[in-house]
């Protein structure tokens, strides 16, 4: 298991609350928040965003020092993916979170990306 994981393992009560706060909300559009959509906290001008739930605040904190994929946010918090997607969607909707969805699939885009992936693998592993 990864070091430091204990620090932000959610307590049972938090988990229950996470389900409560997400209750009734629609699951976000898959294109918006896919497993590999990259997310980061929006710049805040030094102010703390008001009226965030503890879960929203915690996920926003995790996203505050750079970009992570939605899957990584779930992995680091050990929250179910569905919960994470709903909380992140709420943050994005409130303007607290920036998202970079993966490019839509298209044959040409694929080819460029695949070339870049292949070159990257060669650079990295020889």
């Amino acid at each position: 298991m990864r070091a430091g994981g204990e620090d932000f393992e959610f307590e049972p009560a938090d988990l229950v609350r996470a389900y409560v706060i997400t209750k009734g909300r629609e699951l976000p559009d898959e294109q918006q928040l896919s497993l590999i959509t990259l997310v980061t906290a929006a710049p805040q001008d030094g102010r703390r965003p008001a009226r965030l739930t503890p879960e929203e605040q915690r996920l926003l904190d995790i996203c505050s020092a750079g970009y992570l994929s939605v899957a990584e946010v779930a992995g680091h918090t050990r929250l179910p993916l569905g919960v994470v997607r709903i909380v992140l969607a709420a943050l994005a909707e409130g303007g607290h979170l920036l998202t970079r969805p993966p490019v839509p699939r298209a044959r040409n885009a694929d080819k460029d990306l695949l070339e870049e992936v292949l070159n990257g693998l060669h650079r990295k592993f020889g």
Partner: protein, 203 residues
């Protein structure tokens, strides 16, 4: 946004946990699939730049059973539905590798994983070929291009490969590569074989 160079103690993540150059990155994914204990987690761990992470997609089940949450939490061995790693390949592309067993009961998870994936690497144990049939079926069902990486390979490779192709009913063009998932170079070579094949198919 400006990246804080120091680690953020509140959440225990360090700079290395974040996607380098995230603001310009395009994320892509490749699936690493195979039957139980075939070496998926080992494979991802051997080439991932981050400690492999895992997550579950249990939202609907869990939401239905808030009363049962106590019982669920009490389990020390929860079903790990999905584990993944990351490879930053350039300033423009970051590759995620998602691994999961070929269990059809995780339908929602499979749909999430397969959607938009560049392709799949199917890990196969030649001693348990039949266990790979459902996995291959599932990958084909989702319309993903794939290569086969054979773990724990022994015997005469060429003869074994021919038998394996026949047993798995593979197309002639489907790449078959042997691989020791514990070895970084070997895993990277298998991944490279898949990507070269995907590129051929896209050209």
């Amino acid at each position: 946004m400006g990246f804080t160079a120091s680690s953020d103690d509140r959440v225990g993540l360090t700079t290395d946990d974040y996607v380098s150059g995230g603001a310009t990155q395009t994320a892509v994914k490749i699936l690493v699939v195979g039957h139980f204990a075939v070496g998926k987690t080992t494979f991802i761990g051997s080439i991932s730049e981050i400690e492999p992470l895992s997550t579950e997609e249990t939202m609907t089940q869990a939401a239905e059973a808030v009363d049962d949450l106590k019982g669920v939490r009490g389990k020390t061995t929860t079903t790990v539905a999905l584990d993944f790693g990351r490879l930053t390949l350039s300033e423009r592309v970051v590759l995620y590798l998602f691994g999961t067993p070929g269990q059809t009961r995780f339908v929602q998870m499979w749909e999430d994983m397969a959607r938009g994936a560049l392709g799949a690497l199917i890990l196969v144990d030649p001693e348990r070929l039949a266990d790979s049939f459902p996995v291959i079926d599932l990958i084909e069902q989702y319309g993903l291009d794939y290569a086969i990486a054979v773990n724990h390979f022994d015997g005469n490779p060429e003869r074994a490969e021919r038998a394996l192709r026949e047993a798995l009913d593979l197309l002639d063009e489907t790449p078959v590569v042997t691989c020791d998932a514990r070895n970084e170079k070997s895993s990277a070579a298998a991944l490279t074989t898949l990507v070269r094949y995907l590129l051929d198919r896209a050209s």
